[in-house]
Amino acid sequence: MAPIQSLARTAPGAARGPRRRRFVRALPYLAPAALLYAYFLAYPMIDAVRLSFFEWSGFRTESPAFVGLENYVRILTKDPVFWTALTNSVIWVVLSLVVPMMISLLLALALNRRMIGRNLFRSVFYMPAVFASITVASIWRWIYNPTLGLLNETLRTVGLEDWAQQWLGNPDIALYSIFAASVWQGVGFGMILFLAGLQQVPPEQVDAARVDGAGGWQVFRHVSMPALKPTTVVVIILTMINSLKVFDLVVGMTGGGPAQSTQVLALWTYTQSFSNHNFGQGSAVATVLLVISLFLVVPYLMWSMRSDKE
């Protein structure tokens, strides 16, 4: 009897039965969310891709006309702004993966130790993350105001008037000025995630490493870093997704200007669709953005999941 029981326990067909029953039981609970997801997320996404093969003004009284790949040809070869927007989006992603992540990690490490005012500092650094992006944009627009703004006024007060700039008016630095506001807003959220990850580091491992003579860097490199890997994966993926779809800070601070120098893909999608009423080209830009997002996020996610299994 024993071998037969063992076979029954391991045969694929036999295992499928309970799994199927569990799936059927779960279905009523999954269905509402799945339907909402399909209608509000999957369908618009697929429809945007479909629309990218049509020329359409967005007015219900006008029918979309099928144009094949023409919208893609236009944005890739004739659109004077698309490549600027793509380049800026790539710059934004790369900077986001370096600057705010590093600051978040350093803040988390600094505030993960017992010290006076630790909770106050955590709250202060996290606070900008709760502001709406458009509020952050308003705050920083005033900070950057070329004549009355805090930054230029401070530079003039301390004798560094030569450093005063048109922070949002100079096309060479405007994107980076917006990015600074994004860092100010974003590091708090990353810090909280890293702090949560650091709570998972077993104190006994840290103590054991210290007993073995490991210094601060070695403890971080060989104990904390490996324990932070799941958190780092989450932060990297969230950072890539959020930086690819950056929109509101740019709208609120420069509107994509001056001379489209701070244009990014998400905003150019919106501008083409809702300002220029080229819904076909707008959808083509959105599709490019979708493909880039999947291209960046999916391989990293798969690699990370495979590493976890191993």
């Binding site: 006008e62 070329p146 004549t147 048109q166 922070w167 096309p171 200007g257 300002s275 009423h277």
Partner: protein, 423 residues
């Protein structure tokens, strides 16, 4: 009495409007104790108390004269107002009447897609063709038929600070472009910023480029460029206009103009930190509200040499999908009548579209516009109203790229024409 005014915060809540407007209403959607016919009017929100009061006067007066009608005004900010109107095209969820700019790029777009009702029969019924000034009528007849009734006639010109002009040794208003440049140079020599602009809103500096094109190209060629009948790449005057624009950006505009909005840069004029502002008739009220002595402010048309005035019109249109067109027309007749226009003139512009109504007297700046309008032989509209939407976006990109130095002035016309050819 307070007008039922709904300030809509975002386009996405259009659906919620049905709920909002249903609050405190009877089952048929009409506020309890009010008229049985509800008229919905969409307008852009205004920060001006005078404009809000003028709308209240119009609505309350109409309701008093027509007790069976209730008028609800729904207001949005400028861009959400445009988007909301574009979204309701082809649906029955729009207003009965909507406020919009004239011109092929804005009002004409909605005429093309069938949102606007041709009002020829109402012009005949009410005799409106005899009511409005010729420039005002030209704005509503440009698409063929009569689309909308004129509601605002705005012109743009150079406001200047008389004290700052005197400090720089400028004794008379410039009447030619060369005199204007000479005045700019005198202001610079006196350490005064000649003129303020806010670059984050592209349409502000656009006014300057529009006027430079009118100056360098003349009325005929400038119109041909706007209507696609002349090549931006082949008219030498286009290069000259962009060259002048680059010079203005380099020498005459306020520091940091690209990082400022229009309202931020206006503060420089109000505070006496800039000698001129390129603004429109609505600016009269803002000047007096700012505390600046209106007696110390003068206005002169940008001296293009073409005798045309930088101007545009605004109209009230009837939605072709409205089931209450007759009541809507009655409302339009009321708000543009001699009495109501005389009562509200000056609230949103210096002059009335009604030719029987004299300019308002409460703001001394309003009076300065009469000779400016009288001296104009025609108008040239702002490019964002004349050009198609995507070409407007490109016009702004090229204009700003010339100012940042990313496009050489003599290559700007080529860039514009390349975009036109690629359409």
């Amino acid at each position: 009495m307070v007008t039922r005014r709904i300030k809509v915060k975002a386009v996405g809540v259009i659906a919620a409007l049905g709920i909002l407007t249903a609050c405190g209403t009877s089952p048929d959607g009409v506020p309890e104790g009010k008229g049985t016919t509800q008229l919905v009017v969409w307008m852009p929100a205004s920060d001006s108390e005078a404009q809000e009061a003028a709308v209240d006067t119009m609505v309350n007066g109409f309701e008093k004269a027509n007790p069976d009608v209730t008028v609800t005004v729904e207001e949005r900010q400028t861009d959400p107002h445009k988007q909301a109107l574009r979204q309701i095209v082809g649906t029955d969820s729009g207003p009965d009447i909507y406020w919009y700019w004239e011109g092929l790029g804005l009002g004409g777009e909605l005429v093309d897609v069938g949102l606007s009702q041709d009002l020829t029969e109402y012009y005949d019924e009410y005799g409106w063709a005899d009511r409005f000034t010729n420039p005002a009528l030209a704005g509503v007849t440009q698409y063929g038929g009569y689309h909308g009734v004129p509601f605002g006639q705005q012109a743009m010109a150079l406001y200047y600070n008389k004290d700052l002009f005197a400090q720089a040794g400028i004794s008379a208003e410039p009447t030619t472009y060369d005199e204007l440049i000479a005045a700019n140079d005198k202001l610079v020599a006196a350490g005064i910023t000649p003129i303020e602009f806010g670059g984050t809103v592209n349409w502000h500096i656009m006014r300057l480029l529009d006027s430079l094109l009118e100056t360098e190209c003349g009325a005929e060629t400038n119109t041909a460029l706007a209507t696609g009948k002349a090549s931006w790449a082949e008219e030498p005057c286009v290069d000259a206009a962009y060259t002048e624009l680059a010079t203005w950006g380099e020498k005459y505009l306020n520091d940091g103009y690209f990082g400022m909005s229009n309202s931020d840069s206006s503060q420089l004029f109000f505070s006496g930190d800039a000698a001129m502002a390129f603004e429109g008739t609505w600016f009269d009220a803002e000047v007096t509200d700012s505390g600046l002595d209106p007696e110390n402010v003068g206005i002169f048309a940008f001296p293009t040499g073409s005798d045309r005035l930088s101007a545009f019109g605004e109209a009230l249109y009837i939605n072709a999908a409205s089931e209450k067109k007759d009541v809507a027309a009655k409302f339009l007749d009321f708000v543009t009548s001699d009495d109501i226009q005389a009562e509200t003139v000056g609230s949103s512009g210096a002059i009335s579209v009604n030719k029987n109504v004299e300019p308002g007297t409460e703001n001394p700046l309003n009076q300065l516009w009469s000779p400016i309008f009288g001296g104009a032989s025609g108008v040239y509209g702002p490019s964002d109203q004349n050009l198609p939407l995507d070409l407007t976006t490109e016009y702004w990109r090229v204009q700003n790229s010339v100012l940042t130095g990313d496009i050489a002035p003599d290559k700007a016309g080529d860039a514009m024409q390349e975009f036109v050819d690629n359409q």
